[in-house]
Structure formats: C-alpha cells, structure tokens
C-alpha cells in the first residue's frame, strides 16, 4: 500500500500562489462575500503564509511557505471527531466524509496547523461561475468542515484509468493540482514508501523539515530549505 506525501522545495518556490489558486479551483472551494471575508470566514484549503522575517533591514527576508493539511500520520483531528467523519485511509490520506460531518468543529480546534475551514454559508459567487466547477468534486453544503484531501478524486480517476488500461498505476498518474501547476516545479508528490519515487529521494535531502515536528503528529508534507525556518 502506498503512503502518499509531498515535498515542497522552498528554495525554488517564489510564492506566485498558482498552487493556492489551483487548489481553490480544483476543489470548488467557495468564495465568500465581502462581509463574511471581513469576519475572517474566507475559505482556503491552501494558503501562502508568511511566518516571520529573517535578517535585518535591508537584508531582511520574509519566510513564506504554502500551508495546507499536512496529512499527519498521527492526526489529532480524527481523535476528537464525535461522528468519525474524518479518518485516516490506508494510503495515509486523512480524508473527510462530508455527509457525515455535523459541523461541531472539534477537529478544527484540535488541528495544530489551523488548516481546516468551516463552511459558514452557501456559495456566494455569481451563478455563472458554477459552470467552471470541477465536476469531479462535490460542492460541500454549509455547516461542515473541509480541508485539503491531496486531490483524492484524482487518485480515484487514476486507479480507474490504470485498471481500464490493464496496467499498474504509475507515479505520474496521480498528482495533486498544486503539484501539476507549480511553475517552479517546487512541489513534488508521490509515494513516500516507494524507494524509487521522486519524493522518497527528496526526503533524504539535508534541507528537509516538517511543521511543528515537536508535536509528534508526523506530517507527510515535507519542506526543503537552505535556511532554518
């Protein structure tokens, strides 16, 4: 069984936010109104976060990185879900069963990375834009929690495709939307347990680190950076 994970090379990333936009469009993440945005209810499964600044002016540099669900191997969110709407799959992806979610937001509170978002309202963008929705992904109703799923719908399609073609699934069959669009080729995705996969090789890079390692959640999203973050 594969163990999917991601490696992001921050030395290559130039914060163009193509990954952020691609995630929003791929997963039909809702756009909220101005009023709700002011209340902090903007929904982004992936966001570009500036954590701090290094150096002194004028050699000061912002430390920014794309942040999203890090697909913990020991996810704190699933432990508190009263209805088991969130669970860890065998392939390591922390998934969410939307119809089962009751919107208690315990998982949001327990996520140390604050990457889960709550659907406060129905989609508020012009109805014409519904035509651009990705038909592979359901639009979530209001009142439930959602987050990055490593574009799990793409995994399903890749499995079906390889099955139809009577072959084994290849590494390039399944990539997330953010990986696909990254202009700097800074995002890498694949099976962390496959010694031949690109991501498993990158994991050996000396620049590797994960977010909040000390919590022991064992994230499967790794970052590479020359400088300490």
């Amino acid at each position: 069984m594969p163990r999917y994970g991601m490696v992001i090379d921050l030395n290559k990333c130039n914060q163009c936010e193509a990954c952020v936009t691609a995630c929003k469009l791929e997963n039909n993440v809702q756009i909220v109104s101005k009023e709700n945005a002011e209340m902090g209810r903007v929904m982004q499964w992936m966001k570009m976060l500036t954590t701090n600044h290094e150096g002194n002016y004028p050699e000061i540099r912002p430390v920014s990185l794309p942040v999203f669900c890090v697909q913990c191997d020991d996810p704190p969110c699933i432990k508190v879900c009263p209805v088991r709407a969130t669970y860890k799959r065998d392939d390591g992806i922390v998934a969410q069963i939307y119809p089962q979610c009751i919107g208690c937001r315990y998982c949001m509170a327990n996520c140390p990375y604050t990457v889960k978002v709550f659907n406060w309202y129905k989609d508020e963008q012009p109805v014409e834009y519904e035509k651009c929705y990705n038909t592979d992904v359901s639009v979530r109703p209001k009142g439930i929690v959602e987050k990055c799923t490593f574009c799990i719908h793409r995994l399903q399609k890749a499995k079906e495709k390889s099955k139809a073609e009577h072959r084994k699934m290849q590494e390039e069959d399944y990539v997330t939307a953010c990986t696909e669009v990254c202009p700097a080729h800074a995002i890498h995705f694949g099976d962390l347990d496959d010694p031949n996969s690109h991501v498993s090789k990158l994991m050996n890079d000396y620049r590797k680190f994960t977010l909040q390692e000390e919590l022991g959640t064992e994230p499967k999203v790794y970052y590479l950076s020359e400088k300490s973050q």
Binding site: C16, A18, D123, Y129, E130, K131, C132, E180
Partner: protein
C-alpha cells in the same frame, strides 16, 4: 465498435435522467444551467484541448479540460518549452472569462446614455461610415487607435490597419513594447532575450522577473537554474516583493533615482578602466562626452548623497559588475512608471553598453521577420500624444480602443473622462464595460480567449517559439474577433490596398504557412534535440520534416505549438547614439527629501503578482486572493515599516484615512518590516468603479498627475501621503530616510565583520 458521444447519450440518457429527476446528481453536483440537459442526462465525457494564454507576454500553452464540450478548467501544457506544464494564477482562471456574468454578449450602441444591443451589421456600418467620413474630410490625423494585446501578429495587424487606412496615430499599450521602447529610442532596435545561460551577474532595476515580466513562468525556472550555478542577482527596487525576496540582494531605492544609481555604478567601471573599449569605440557615438559627464557628476559619494545608498555599496556593485564576464543590467516596462522613467532606462542601457551587452542577444535571421515587417519600427506615438490632443477642444474625431483600460491606469482619470466625453465617436472592442469602454459610443465585443484563433510568438527563450491559440469552443455569443473587424474595415475603406487575407483566421493560416515553408524547427510535443542533433543540424543534416501543410497544421493543433531549438543566436550589438540631451542635466535628480514637510510619507504604489494592467478584479478568485497574505480581503491596505508606524503612533491593522493633495481614502494599515522606512506601500489593482468586483480604492487617482513624458506612463512613486490623525513624534521623513541609511550602514558593518 466505437461509441461516440451522441450514441452514449442515447444509451444511458434515460437511466441517468431518472437519477437526476430523483435529485441524486443534483444534490451532489453543481451543474451549469446551459449544460444541465447534457450533464444530467449523463455522458460527462471528458476531453482536452490545447490553446494558449494571452494574459501576459509569456505565451504559455494551456490544456483546457472540457466536460461534454464545455471548458471547466485550465492547466499548463507539459510539452510546451515555455511553461513545461506550469501555469500562473492568471492562466488558471482563463475559463472564468468565458462565463463571466458581465461579459458583453452582442454589439451595443449608446443611446441616450445607455448601451442598447444592435446587430453586428449595424455596428459595423456605423464604424465604417464614420471612418469613411473622416477620410473624406482628410482628418485621419484626428483619429487615435489604442491597442493592448501581447500577440505580436495581432500587433502587426493593427500596424497594417494603421498604415493601410492612414490612421497613423496607433498606440500599442502592451508590456513587451513598453519594455523595448527605451532600447528603440536609444539604439534603434531591442534585444530579443537575456541569455541566462551566458550571464554571470544581473543587476536588476525594478523588474519582477517571476511576477510581472516578459515571461514569468519561463523566468521562474531559468532564475532557479541560474542561481543554482552560484550566480547572483542584485535587485534595485522600492519594494521587496515576494519574487525579489527570493533573489540574492535587495537595494531599496526610489525609482526616480534609478538613473543616478546606474550611472554611479558606471562611474566605477569607467574609473577602474574596466569596460569594453572596442565595443564602445565601434558602437557608442559620443562616448567620450558620456564618460566625462559620468566621471564628473557621478562620484559614488555624490550618488550616495542623492540616493541614500552608501558609497561603499555602489562601489561594491560596480566591482561585481565589472568583474563579471557577461553581466546584465536588466529592466522592463516597470522602470518607466516614473516621471523620468525613460531617462533612467537610458542610463541602464548605457551601463550595459560599458560591458558590450554581452548577456543580451538576438535571434539570427529568423524567417518570421518577414511576417513581422513592422516590428522593428520605432514607436513614435504614445499616450503623451493622445493626452496632448485630448487637452485641445474638438481635436479628435474618433478613438478606437482594443483591450486597453487606460482610464483606470491614469492618475488624472477625472480630467481624462471629461476629455473622452467630448470625442464625437469612440469605438471599443472590449469584452466588458470597463472604466474606458463606458465612454464608447459603440462596443463590438471581442471573442473570449478560448474562442479565438491566434499564433503567439515568443523570443524570450533565445529561440523562436510559436504557441497556437485555438478556439476551444465555438463563440458562445454574438461577439466578433477584432482582427476580423479590422480586416473587413481595411478592405472596405481602402479596396485598392488589396488586403491578401479574408479574415483573421486566414491571416493566421498564412503565417503558419510561412513557418511551414521555412522547414525549420519542431513541434512542441517532439523531444528536445540533443547536443549531437543540434551539431548535426548545423552541418546540414535534416531529420524528418513536415509533409503537407494540412499535416503540419494538424500536428500544430495536436502539440500546442512549434519552436525552433536549432535557431542561431547572435550578439546584440546596437549602435548607440546618446545625444548630450539624453544624459546631461536630466539624469541628475534633485534630492528634495529634506524639504518634505513633517508627517508626510512617500507613497509607493506597487503591482501585485501578475497584475500587469490592474485588471485582475474581474476574477472573483483572484480578488479574494489579492490581500490574502495579510488577511485583508476586498479592501485596500497600506504597508508601513513598524519603525515608521510606531513613530506615528499607529497600530498594526488599524483602519486609517490616507490623505494626499487630491483627496482622502480609507485603508487598513499593515506592519511590514520589509517596507522602506518613510514609505507607505499601497497595492494597485483594486478600486474599479465599473469593471468586475468594485471593491477597494485605486491609489493612482490620488497620486500626483506625473507621467513619463516619452511614454505617457503614470508615475507610481512620486507622491507624498499623510495618515490622518497621526503625528510624527520625533522625526520627519528626511529623518526616516536617514534612519534607513543608518540601518543600511549598520548592516553593512555587521556583515563585514561576519
């Protein structure tokens, strides 16, 4: 047996229709209204088509995902040598253009101040009659055309239209032409590309390589590659944008002082006698005068006083530049957004000349030059000419606008609006009613990018690459390709000119035929040639070639484009004629920082990632993302250095009222330690009053009405601004600037000891 879509619908339509009635699919999926009958009844057949992105000069190839022939998503084409599968946020939202609720669906005519639909024939006749009338009255000089398109072939068509009809006042308002304008003025031609493979040091003036540039996606990859070799990029810019933060060194400087700094660096090269004498003797007329002028006026200590950059730093940069074998002082259109923008660009060109433009190149004898006959023509007509004519009463008979929203991009938009109201005939080809097209008497909306055919030529890789923009869908509405309208008008107005193409599609086919008959290059889906293959090609070996033109065209549509990796490059060796007027007096900027009143700050308007002309606001996704870095949504923010903010007793994220000579506007104040002390950085792009999401404020309309005279580009950073209710505790702006210099010096010392 092959089952086509129609058969599929017949077979499975009934059962899935039942599911839809029962609400199964409806509850799970949001479906487009127009597509509901197809999608509910079920085939949901996925297909992919290749086209091109036209949102910037990059010409990236796109893969459009269609469900039942309706485009739903855009991705990058991995075969394209330009974007290699990568795509930026602007490209990603391409599909939204097609379904935009505010899109014009048919030609409209203004009747009693309101736009009413008219037929294409009626609209066309109105333009044709008006233009014929102007020609018969011999008032062609009283017509201006403003075109904004990054397609070189489309620009060429506009030039042909201008030449054929005699409407000579053509303004090309695009990034690529803006970037090459100073080169044309100083040297008569512009380089095709910067050679990252050859270059070993880049001194970058205000170019946001990976954010707003000639080819952001390609540059992103090349700059990572360049830096991985250990080469450095020094960027001189008033703001540390995310892309610049990734580069090696940032020198904060007001853009108005770029020329002084460039000549300060030139001084070091001249003083050290480390410049390319043979190149200068051959190509630089008046070099001795130039040298004497620089040695006399741009001593680093003097430049340090003007710019606030320590003399040691200027010398350090100068030494880096002179030691590099192929350095480049790079700039693009962004450098022009100042009252002395073109002058500054001349200084940067002069600095490059000292090292013989070794990192710049041209593509040798491209057969495409026969198609682009007018490309090397000097640009003489700019917005300055248009503004000058508009300021006279009844000076203009007609204005034709395609793609440009110059009213939004003007600091004096109120005056401009009044002047536009007095023009008797304005035609727009905009797909939307925006701040500029709202003044039109007639709008013939252009097709959406996914409905058009075009070829997009890009030379910035050092080899010619042509990306095919092909229609992904049939036009949804009664829109028309502006190219078709221009060709029809050319034929009707000047039948004797014998225009050789039926329509724009025919024009593009003829260009494709030239590429075909050139018998060079490969398709984008073919493997990149190896060094051995390139070598064989040089000695005359020819691998398999295209069969008939139809085969060529089919391969072009299947692969997404054509490129010539075998194209030969040649050095950029321009003849530079820096007449004394170009550098004497005008280069030296008076430093008036000390006379700035207390409490005032420098207003520095900056462009957000990829927002070339401030038109991102038509895309809800991008508007929401606009201020997401600071969690400020749908409103304007102003970034301030915490040191400056504290001395003004202002808190982070406080809502403030900003005041300039032209009025007041609200903003959210954001602490950002990367902002130059004494500056207030405000993003450009919000504040549309008609187009898209009308949120936030356009800071440009509150800035001084200063423009770069040769180009007519507005100044983005020469105004002063005050935060209402704040009072500077202990220092004026001049002191803030001194503080900036002090921090600069301290840091220098710290680094020297490190």
């Amino acid at each position: 047996m092959e089952i086509n879509r129609r058969d599929f619908v017949k077979l499975f339509g009934g059962s899935l229709f039942g599911l839809a009635i029962g609400g199964g699919a409806g509850a799970m999926l949001k479906l487009p209204k127009k597509a509901e009958p197809i999608l509910y009844s079920g085939p949901r057949i996925e297909s992919w088509k290749l086209t091109a992105c036209t949102k910037c000069p990059g010409s990236c190839s796109l893969r459009i995902r269609l469900i039942d022939d309706l485009p739903i998503q855009a991705f990058g084409n991995p075969n394209s040598p330009i974007n290699e599968g990568g795509i930026c946020p602007l490209g990603l939202v391409s599909v939204a253009d097609l379904y935009h609720p505010a899109r014009l669906t048919n030609p409209v005519k203004k009747i009693n101040g309101e736009f009413k639909p008219v037929s294409y024939k009626e609209a066309y006749n109105i333009i044709s009659d008006n233009l014929k009338n102007i020609i018969s009255n011999k008032r062609q000089d009283d017509v201006f055309i403003v075109a904004q398109t990054e397609s070189k072939f489309r620009v060429e068509l506009f030039r042909k239209f201008s030449d054929t009809t005699g409407f000579k006042n053509l303004i090309i308002d695009n990034f690529r032409d803006g970037s090459s304008f100073p080169f044309f003025k100083a040297a008569g031609n512009a380089p095709d590309f910067i050679d990252f493979d050859k270059c070993d040091y880049i001194l970058n003036f205000d170019a946001q390589f990976t954010e707003i540039s000639q080819n952001p996606i390609y540059f992103t990859r090349k700059i990572n590659e360049y830096r991985s070799k250990g080469f450095k990029i020094t960027t001189v810019q008033p703001k540390l944008t995310p892309g610049v933060a990734k580069l090696d060194e940032w020198i904060p400087l007001q853009p108005v002082l770029f020329g002084n700094f460039a000549l300060g660096v030139a001084y070091v090269l001249l003083k050290d006698d480390q410049y390319d004498k043979s190149f200068l003797e051959e190509n630089f007329s008046g070099f001795t005068d130039f040298k004497n002028h620089v040695l006399e006026n741009y001593v680093p200590d003097k430049v340090a006083k003007l710019t606030g950059i320590p003399a040691e730093k200027i010398i350090e940069i100068g030494r880096k530049f002179e030691k590099a074998s192929s350095p480049a002082a790079y700039f693009d259109e962004s450098v022009l957004y100042n009252s002395n923008g073109t002058q500054n660009a001349f200084a940067i060109i002069a600095l490059n000349a000292l090292k013989g433009f070794r990192s710049f190149g041209k593509i040798k004898n491209s057969f495409l030059s026969s198609v682009l006959q007018n490309e090397s023509r000097e640009i003489n007509i700019t917005f300055t000419n248009l503004m000058a004519r508009l300021s006279k009463s009844n000076a203009l008979q007609a204005l034709l606008i395609s793609g440009s929203n110059f009213v939004f991009n003007s600091p004096d938009s109120e005056a401009l609006k009044k002047q536009l109201s007095s023009i008797p005939f304005i035609v727009s080809f905009s797909s939307f009613v925006d701040e500029t097209s709202s003044f039109a008497h007639l709008i013939i909306p252009d097709h959406c990018n996914l409905e058009k055919l075009d070829l997009l030529l890009n030379n910035s890789m050092g080899v010619p690459a042509v990306t095919l923009q092909q229609p992904v869908v049939e036009p949804f509405f009664k829109t028309s390709d502006t190219g078709d309208v221009l060709i029809s008008l050319m034929k009707e107005i000047k039948p004797e000119a014998k225009v050789q193409y039926e329509n724009y599609s025919d024009y593009i086919t003829q260009i494709a035929k030239k590429i075909y008959s050139g018998r060079e290059g490969i398709f984008m889906d073919q493997n990149k040639p190896t060094v051995i293959e390139k070598g064989l090609r040089k000695i005359g070996w020819q691998t398999e070639q295209f069969g008939s033109f139809d085969d060529f065209w089919d391969s072009l549509t299947d692969s997404g484009g054509w490129w010539d990796p075998f194209a030969e490059k040649e050095p950029y060796n321009p003849k530079i004629d820096f007449k004394p007027a170009f550098y004497k007096e005008s280069f030296t900027t008076k430093n008036s920082l000390n006379s700035i009143p207390k409490n005032k700050l420098h207003l520095n308007i900056f462009k957000r990632n990829l927002d070339y002309k401030g038109n991102m606001s038509i895309y809800p996704v991008l508007v929401e993302q606009f201020g997401s870095n600071w969690s400020v949504f749908y409103q304007l923010w102003a970034e301030i250095n915490p040191v400056t903010a504290r001395s003004l007793s202002l808190r982070d994220r406080s809502k403030v009222i900003l005041k300039t000579n032209k009025g007041k506007f609200p903003a959210v104040l954001i602490y950002n330690p990367t902002v130059v002390p004494g500056n207030l950085d405000i993003p450009f792009g919000l504040g549309h009053t008609i187009l898209g999401d009308t949120c936030g404020v356009n800071p440009l309309i509150f800035s001084e009405n200063k423009i770069d005279k040769p180009t007519g580009k507005p100044s983005f950073s020469e105004s002063l601004i005050e935060i209402e209710g704040s009072s500077l505790k202990n220092s004026s702006l001049a002191e803030q600037v001194k503080l900036n210099q002090k921090q600069f010096a301290e840091n220098q010392v710290r680094r020297d000891y490190a």
